[in-house]
């Protein structure tokens, strides 16, 4: 039956650096210097160590539930490098690396996940909204933030982060659809780590990619190799530039892999084939970047040792800062519900203080 085509479009994937550390030099983002390349690598090593430390702390009972970002270092470091100071970050719950690179003190990130509300008071300069745990819902905040930036004529862009699982929530849809209609300065940056707890991406949706979902909203979509820090940088940069130029929102998918358990409360061995993990370990984002730098004489064992040493020291410092925090005042439970303390909260606060003998 003859029909007319009313829509034709394609979704693309961007790859620059392969697992062996080989890159076609012509594809390397022109905006990045050799020093930037090294910084990207260092940043990835830093956030991996920061993450490993948290897992250690958790095993020792010094940390709460922690969701490891292992495997997603390129996705977060690439984006972080593409961001400018005036941009806003609207994180989900696995963006520890991004937050750190954005200038959030590590001990605050740790504090949040240790179970201390003060870890939600991120420094103003970081321009981060607080981490959002209800999956997917924060993408709408990124639309509102991006719209605020557009309405005020500011240069900044709001980047909303979420995972592959989040793409199934209604709010994902509403956010992307609103973004198509209101053209906020927003980038949706989805780290598809191929698992949502125990549910593999193939059971999350029958679509072959997250990026192609952009066709539903009249906005561009693009997939990057999420274990390739150059591809992540380039895809983020392209989307940020577009938003900054007032051309609307973009959906970026960084196709990566969650190498750890979902959180410290999870055991992925229950549901994940060991071969799959091995397959992705060979595609580790840090490994390939090290190979790349070493092949160019920009990195070697000595520098590795020195940087590892420095990173250890910095992370240790954050742990010390964490553990040196004064215990939180129980009265603070009441103090941030409203600008003023209403009578019922005042009564309840007084009762608690009395119980605590204060």
């Amino acid at each position: 039956m003859p029909r007319t085509r009313i829509y034709e479009a394609a979704t693309e994937r961007l790859e620059i650096l392969d697992p062996e550390g080989r890159a076609d030099e012509r594809l390397l983002p022109a905006q990045l210097s050799e020093a930037d390349w090294v910084a990207l690598y260092r940043n990835m090593v830093l956030i991996r160590h920061f993450d490993e430390k948290a897992l250690n702390l958790q095993r020792q009972g010094r940390m709460g539930t922690w969701g490891s970002l292992r495997g997603q270092e390129a996705a977060q470091a690439g984006l972080a490098m593409a961001l400018e100071a005036e941009d806003w970050v609207v994180p989900s719950f696995r963006e520890h690396g991004l937050l750190l690179l954005r200038g959030v003190p590590g001990h605050l990130v740790y504090a949040f996940w240790k179970g201390d509300e003060r870890g939600g008071a991120l420094p103003e300069e970081a321009r981060c909204l607080p981490p959002s745990i209800p999956v997917g819902s924060q993408l709408l905040h990124a639309v509102g933030a991006g719209l605020a930036l557009r309405l005020r004529g500011e240069r900044g862009v709001a980047v909303g982060l979420a995972g592959d699982g989040a793409s199934s929530e209604g709010d994902f849809h509403e956010a992307l659809n609103f973004a198509g209609v209101f053209r906020p300065r927003t980038v949706f940056y989805i780290q598809n780590n191929q698992w949502a707890i125990s549910v593999p991406f193939s059971r999350q949706t029958a679509a072959r990619s997250i990026a192609q979902k952009a066709h539903a909203y009249g906005i561009p979509g693009l997939q990057a190799d999420g274990n390739d820090v150059f591809a992540c940088y380039a895809a983020a940069r392209e989307a940020l530039d577009r938003a900054r130029a007032g051309e609307g929102a973009t959906l970026v998918e960084a196709l990566t892999y969650r190498m750890g358990n979902h959180t410290t409360a999870d055991d992925a061995q229950k549901y994940r084939p060991a071969e799959e993990l091995a397959h992705w370990a060979a595609r580790d984002p840090i490994l390939r970047m090290r190979r790349f730098l070493e092949a160019r004489g920009l990195w070697d064992e000595e520098r590795e040792t020195a940087w590892a040493e420095e990173v250890r020291g910095r992370v240790e410092g954050e742990v010390e800062a964490l553990e040196a925090m004064e215990p939180q005042d129980p009265a603070s439970i009441f103090d941030f519900m409203y600008g003023n303390l209403p009578w019922n909260l005042a009564e309840q606060k007084a009762a608690l203080m009395k119980e605590l003998g204060r």
Partner: protein, 342 residues
């Protein structure tokens, strides 16, 4: 029968310029004046722009302020509230309209998981000066889902303020205060009385304080507590009771959270008998909280149990039966008389 106890807002003396407005018009005026005063105030929602809102509350505002400040949104309530969060976090003061309270449900995740918690989650780094306003309650004979009143759910959620005007004057003053408030306010508009009557409303901007009840009628035998359109019902019950020689005090809570406990307790202690009137289903409605508070704090003053005259624990009936559901003045008066013979 005595005049209302809460004086006119001190900024606006009695002989100021005023017009007779309906509740819908008073809300429209509040929106317009706040948008004039503060360019951070934005309106968004389904059909709020060209259509002026299905109840015409935002009539004329798109023309006055343009499409960047009055935004017709796609049909998605979670989107409306969720986008408002981002706007407010970055310094705007969004006033989001939900078309009917029955369609707020899809936005409850944004409202409960984010709006109510943002100040706390960020330990005060961010707070959300936003208003989510919507028509609520019954009495207009609409299809299913257009008569809901579940204010109790909102009051049970810490971090929100909940405001319900019952007169045009209060509607303007309270909405103005809600927009100026630094915390999120859910503003429930009794659609049944959007156009039911007119009242003198000061023409200049003014605020009515959130958290203060209004005593519409002073009385000594029994206290009728209500909000929204049930205030009219209570006032009519007051008339009926007066004809039978019973002096009923009528307290209009106006704000459900924070609650004006002082006014409530003072009235209960004076009369010793309280009838709470609301449209929502009885079980676990806000009337339960009022009864709980009263027995907690005024037990020895109570000459009879606090009565609840409420909707039934059912779906709000479709138009042909809805009059059986809504508390009527007769039902309120009858229950009030019962407390008198306890």
């Amino acid at each position: 029968m005595t005049a209302a106890r809460t004086a006119a807002s001190p900024l606006h003396p009695v002989n100021e310029p005023a017009e007779r407005l309906t509740l819908a018009q008073a809300l429209n005026q509040a929106l317009r004046q706040e948008m004039e005063r503060d360019e951070r105030v934005l309106l968004l929602g389904e059909d709020v722009g060209k259509d002026g809102g299905v109840f015409r509350v935002s009539e004329g505002l798109l023309d006055a302020f343009g499409p960047d400040r009055v935004m017709d949104t796609p049909l998605a309530e979670s989107g409306i509230v969720g986008m408002s969060v981002g706007l407010a976090a970055l310094g705007f003061r969004p006033v989001a309209e939900i078309q009917f309270m029955g369609f707020l449900y899809p936005a409850l995740n944004q409202l409960f998981a984010h709006v109510a918690r943002y100040r706390n989650r960020s330990r005060g780094r961010f707070h959300l000066p936003l208003v989510v306003r919507m028509p609520y309650g019954g009495g207009i004979h609409p299809p299913e889902h257009h008569s809901e009143s579940y204010e109790a759910l909102l009051v049970h959620t810490p971090g929100l303020k909940v405001v319900v005007p019952s007169t045009p004057r209060d509607a303007k003053g309270l909405l103005t205060a809600a927009i100026q408030d630094e915390d999120p306010v859910v503003f429930l508009e009794p659609k049944r009385i959007y156009r039911a009557f007119r009242e003198e409303v000061p023409s200049a901007p003014f605020t009515e304080p959130l958290g203060k009840a209004r005593v519409h009628r002073e009385g000594k035998d029994v206290t009728l507590v209500a909000w929204g359109s049930m205030v009219r019902t209570a006032l009519e019950a007051h008339e009926a009771l007066e004809r039978q020689g019973v002096s009923a005090e009528v307290v209009d809570l106006r704000t459900l959270n924070p609650l004006d406990l002082d006014t409530l307790l003072a009235s209960a202690e004076k009369t010793g008998r309280v009838v709470v009137v609301h449209e929502a289903p009885r079980t676990a409605g806000f009337g339960a909280e009022l009864a709980a508070l009263l027995q907690e704090r005024a037990l020895l003053h109570l000459l009879a149990p606090v009565k609840r005259v409420t909707g039934f624990d059912t779906v709000f009936p479709y138009p042909l039966l809805e009059h059986h559901y809504l508390p009527s003045p007769e039902r309120v008066a009858a229950e009030a008389l019962e407390t008198l013979s306890y």
